[in-house]
Structure formats: structure tokens, C-alpha cells
């Protein structure tokens, strides 16, 4: 058992936890990516969908943990190193299959039983932007900024002591497998990635605050408050996650510069643990700011206006494609946070920049 098994184990557990709690974190009028009218929230078909999802998740959990145990057994140790780093893909794939099967069935019930028929479907927005505006200070960027400044300061001061050849890439086992010769720019290769992520998060901060979701016409001010609260808390949590990520990166820097002698296990744990804390913060932020309407569903009837059925814009219930919608970021349906509008060229430009940023350091 090496550090990589523990790290991958922790990541798998984290993914499974997110998948288990997801149905509770999203709007109960969009279960499994299907928009339903309020009086259907307790429909037998919806309850069945939840049961099927949790059943699928039980299988996903059992399989993922079983494979993890199998791979961590000593017999396979010689050649399973690359496989172990791909292991988190297993719960992601199985979880998605579970979700999609449930999504399809629920959509079928909705279509066959004509759930939306007779409902007045509207898009409701508030013209007074200031009234329900999510406000988050850019001061939340300070911890991240300070960590990055500290990274550069420490690097500069420690420069004379950095070995002539130092590692720049590690395998999943935490052992260095690529090296570089010392140079003023070379030692900051990780720190430049950190600066990139800080800038990206800064842009996201501004863009997300300008993006708003339509309101629940049955409870406009209530839903506006809930949506802006969730947006604000998620942005704060994202900044905490950024600070955690950069703390992990600072640790990586200290290790590659030879300032810390902790061995492969120490490098991996120091890099991953802060990230796990960061992701936990995101989940906590979503748990603490529910967006489901608390209006009793007994009151709901078909004469009430409902949010427009926009299922057609959601491919598989998770990919948003709408040519008419000028937004390039929209709130996810089955997930925490935002997703891009695939019909918007700006989205593709952003994806391109991110891919380029990920590839460029490897080419250079």
C-alpha cells in the first residue's frame, strides 16, 4: 500500500459522497435533470426514480471499493500503477450511467403522462437587479494571492540552495519521472500555473455574479433569495478551494526545490489533502444553501404558473445547448455550480483557453 492508493481511495470516497448527496442538493422540481411541475414532486414515478438512483449508487459504491481493494492487493503491484490513477473514473462513469438511466425513465413518464399539459409556462425575472444581487467581495481572493506571493518569495530566497537538476513531474506513485535544469523561470513553472488559475477564478467570479437564473413564478422573491444566497456561498467556497489548491501547490514547490525532504508519500499527501478540504467546502456550501422551494406542494395545482419546460435545451440533462440564450454560463441541473452553453462561441473560446493552458506547459 502506497500513498497513491490512499489518495485514490480518498478521491473515490469523495466522488461517491458527492454522488450520494446530489439528489438532495438540487432543485426538487428538476430531479435527475427533468423539469417537473410542483404538484409532481411526490409523484410515484419520481419516488421510484430516487429509489432506482440509490440502488444504482449502492452498486457503484460496492464495485468501486471492490476494484480499489483488488488493485491495492500486493499481487498486482508491479503493473497496476497507471491503472490506479484512472480509478476515480470508475465511480464517475458508473454514477453517470445510473443517473442517465433514471433520467431517461423519468423523462418518459413525464412525456407519456403529459405532466406539463395545462400549465402556464413562464420565465420570471426581477428587473430590480440590486434587490436580490449576490454580493461577494474580491477580498476572498486574498488568501490565494498571499499564498502565491509567498511561493514566489520563498522561491526567490531559496534559489541559491535549489539543486542544479530538480524534478518537475511525478508519477501517480509520487516518484519523480521528469527533471529540469535550474533556471530563474524554470523553478516557477508550477507557480505560473497557480497564477493562471488565480486569473481564471477572478474572471469566473465576475462572470458568475452577472449570471442569474430565472425565478420560480410561484415564489419569485423566495427563489431569488435562495438562488443569490447559493451563488454567493458557492463563490466563497470556490475561493477557499483555490486557496487550498494553492497551498497544495506551495507544498509541491517546496518539495521539488528540495526544501522539504518528505519522500513520495509526503509529497502526495501534502498536495492532495488541501484539495480534499477544498472540495468538502464546496459540498458544505451547497448543503447549507438549499434551492428547493419549501412552499407546501399540497398547495400546488395546475393553475399556478410554472417555470418553462427547458428540457429540450439540456442534452442528456447535463449538457446545455441553446442558441437563443446569450449566456455562456448556466447553473447546472444535476450538479453543483455552473456549466457552459455549448451553443455559445464564447464557451468554446473559454474551453480552448483552458485546454491550451493545460497543454502549453507540457509543450514548452
Amino acid at each position: 500500500m502506497t500513498a497513491s492508493y490512499f489518495t485514490m481511495g480518498a478521491i473515490i470516497v469523495l466522488i461517491l459522497v458527492v454522488q450520494w448527496v446530489m439528489p438532495k442538493l438540487i432543485d426538487n422540481k428538476v430531479p435527475f435533470g427533468v423539469r417537473i411541475p410542483p404538484e409532481r414532486v411526490h409523484d410515484p414515478a419520481v419516488h421510484k426514480a430516487y429509489r432506482r438512483y440509490y440502488f444504482g449508487m449502492a452498486i457503484t459504491t460496492a464495485l468501486s471499493i471492490a476494484v480499489w481493494f483488488f488493485l491495492s492487493s500486493a499481487i498486482l503491484n508491479s503493473f497496476n500503477q497507471p491503472i490506479i490513477s484512472l480509478l476515480p473514473l470508475l465511480p464517475i462513469a458508473l454514477g453517470f450511467l445510473t443517473y442517465y438511466a433514471v433520467h431517461r425513465t423519468l423523462q418518459q413518464s413525464k412525456r407519456n403522462e403529459r405532466w406539463m399539459e395545462g400549465h402556464r409556462q413562464v420565465i420570471a425575472v426581477e428587473t430590480n437587479i440590486e434587490k436580490f444581487k449576490a454580493r461577494v467581495s474580491l477580498a476572498w481572493a486574498l488568501p490565494t494571492l498571499l499564498i502565491i506571493i509567498a511561493t514566489f518569495l520563498i522561491g526567490g530566497l531559496y534559489y541559491p540552495n535549489i539543486p542544479q537538476v530538480f524534478p518537475i513531474h511525478f508519477g501517480a506513485d509520487g516518484v519523480a519521472n521528469r527533471f529540469a535544469t535550474k533556471s530563474a523561470i524554470g523553478i516557477f513553472s508550477v507557480a505560473f500555473i497557480q497564477v493562471g488559475t488565480l486569473l481564471l477564478m477572478g474572471v469566473l467570479h465576475v462572470v458568475i455574479l452577472r449570471t442569474r437564473e430565472s425565478l420560480d413564478p410561484a415564489d419569485p422573491s423566495g427563489s431569488a433569495g435562495r438562488l443569490s444566497r447559493r451563488t454567493a456561498r458557492l463563490i466563497c467556497a470556490l475561493w477557499i478551494m483555490m486557496a487550498c489548491f494553492n497551498l497544495g501547490m506551495l507544498w509541491t514547490n517546496l518539495c521539488i526545490w528540495g526544501a522539504m525532504h518528505v519522500g513520495p508519500t509526503g509529497i502526495m499527501l501534502g498536495t492532495f489533502i488541501p484539495n480534499i478540504v477544498g472540495i468538502a467546502c464546496i459540498i458544505l456550501a451547497a448543503v447549507k444553501s438549499p434551492i428547493s422551494n419549501s412552499v407546501t406542494h399540497a398547495e400546488a395545482n395546475s393553475s399556478m404558473p410554472v417555470r418553462r419546460d427547458d428540457d429540450a435545451n439540456w442534452f442528456m440533462g447535463v449538457f446545455y445547448v441553446s442558441r437563443d440564450d446569450p449566456r455562456f454560463l448556466v447553473a447546472k441541473r444535476f450538479g453543483i455550480g455552473w456549466t457552459i452553453n455549448l451553443a455559445n462561441p464564447v464557451s468554446w473560446a473559454i474551453v480552448g483557453v483552458i485546454i491550451l493552458a493545460a497543454i502549453l506547459p507540457r509543450i514548452l
Partner: protein, 129 residues
Amino acid sequence: MLLTLEIESEKPLYVQIRDQIIEGLATGELQNGESLPSTRQLAMDFGINFHTVNKAYDILRQEGILRLNRKTGAVVYVSEAGEEFAADWSGRLRTLLAEAFVKGMTKSELAKQCQSVIESFEEKEKCSK
């Protein structure tokens, strides 16, 4: 104020926006001098084409209800109605009432309906200088 759009409706979206802003002003939900979101922002909030909102705002500007400015954005600014407006409005009212009358609504019913609509309007700040 709360704006609601019915995508499925036969009434064009820009007309829906325009009508609701005028009704909001009459009922007092929207005040003279109040800012409205920029064209771009409102289109993003609705998730509809930017030209649709632009068209609604442009009509409101031509009707002397909205001022569009690059710096201040869209601000409600109701200018006084001219003679032309009065004539046009009477014509439309006549058609509207005639529609109901032809379909069998009695005169007293018509008057009652008109009265209840008028009562929902807010008296103050109906017109500014």
C-alpha cells in the same frame, strides 16, 4: 418588478415585455425614474435573444417611456402624452371595447371591467414633467 415571459404564447416576446413594463408603471410596481437592467443583462436573465429585448426597449423609447443611454443604461422616464397619442389611444380603446361588445358582453359588464382595471392603477406619479 417581476417580469414574466410566456414563450409558448402567440403574443410576441417583445410585446409581452413592453406591455408588462407599462402595466407595472400603472400599478406602481415600477416607478418613474427607476433603472431597468441593460438590454444585454435582461436578455441573459430571460435566456432569450438580445434583439428581442432590444426591440421592446426601442419601442418603449419611441413611446416616450424609456430613456436609453450608453452610460446610465435604461431608465424609466415617462414623457407627457401628445395629442397624437390621445387620438391613437382612443381608437385602440374603441376597437378593444367593441370586440367585447360584439362578443356579447353587456354595457354594464364592460363598465365594471373597466372600473376594476382603473382601480388597480396607482394615482400618484402617473405623469412627470
